[in-house]
Symmetry: C2
Amino acid sequence: MITSTDCVLFTLHENTLKVLLIKREHEPFKGMWTLCGGFIQPEQDGSDLDSANRILLKKTGIQVNYLEQLKTFASAKRDPRDWSISIAWYALVNHMVFDSSVVLQHTNQWQLFDVDNLPDMGFDHREIVDCAVQRLRNKSLYSSLVGYLLNKEFTLPELHQAYEQVLKEPVDNSVFRRKLKEFDFLENTGKKRKIGASCPPSLYRMKEGLTIMNKVIK
Amino acid sequence: MITSTDCVLFTLHENTLKVLLIKREHEPFKGMWTLCGGFIQPEQDGSDLDSANRILLKKTGIQVNYLEQLKTFASAKRDPRDWSISIAWYALVNHMVFDSSVVLQHTNQWQLFDVDNLPDMGFDHREIVDCAVQRLRNKSLYSSLVGYLLNKEFTLPELHQAYEQVLKEPVDNSVFRRKLKEFDFLENTGKKRKIGASCPPSLYRMKEGLTIMNKVIK
DNA sequence: CAAATAGTGTCTGTTAGACACTATATG
DNA sequence: CATATAGTGTCTAACAGACACTATTTG
């Protein structure tokens, strides 16, 4: 019995929702694109969450902003070696961390892929990604998740754009702002971002301690 | 490493949402109330879903109407014997099956408990039940799930009552019926149920092939 | 035809969506 | 002070919730 964990790591890049895939170095599925995953280590990991964080950190050097259990994939056939259980997760990070990760700088065996234009993938990882994309898009409608794809401080126009990129459809500006007021998960830093010959937007950050809000955006 | 599966089996009884708990016969937690669970058997089970169905059938004799993966609970401490993974599920059945199950008739080591008045439970099963109740109540608002708690054929007043019992709050009759029309997951059998000196309600059944609808009730 | 329950219509306040508008800062 | 973008107001159609009403069947 194989007990493992796999994580769908999302970020926004080039105006698109992307996922990190890693090129497998060993059989099975050597050379194919797969999720960031690994075996659960009972000696090291106190819980499934620990496993996910440990493996993310080890394989990408990234400490994520948001991490949530997605679903467990388990069957006799998903791994040719043996009956296999994988606890799948999805995580959200700002794209900056990809530039600052020492681990990723030392290899080119990884790539960010548009979630709507994925390559062939090993195991049942395509199914896992599709499941995660569906969950993220759905949950974005009534939560503050999208905020975790941005830098710690961001402007409302940036957040607005992020929603449109995740959902792949336009979001009305006044609806967007009305909803944000109801949600109330942001706090104004007082600072503004200078851009050019125009009105500079305020910088906001996520309030501490919240992950999910309970109303509908869109 | 222990790999197991546990199921929260819901039904409606005495106007209340209840869960089946089983009194444990062995250590650990011998004599305490626990969920219907067991070990994954790689030789017998093709998938996690197969495990859940097999264990339900073996321990309760019940074939459920609806079964959905809930969440996976995994840690070093949840089972005193070893590091343990449990893939948790929730299932919905009509109360009738408890009377017709031969397996359950041959033992009294089980009981149905009000979800809002649970006994002390072994392992982390209390947490699992709470998680399942939350999921069921939430999903009931925008799905046809509640229908799976009823008999194959049921009346609209029965379904209405079932919603109120699951949600533990009144549901306006005209809103209820308006929503059902939008959802469109029922078909009229043409039959009616005779009760007494009053207008007999029509009998409906769930349309084949659907499990989840996508609008909001309540 | 009275009683009881099934089932429908109607009114009101709230909200999503569309879009026009005002405010603010900079070169 | 022109320009560009930030941010707000307003109108309309749809819908949830409350509740009164009509319809149907049986003893």
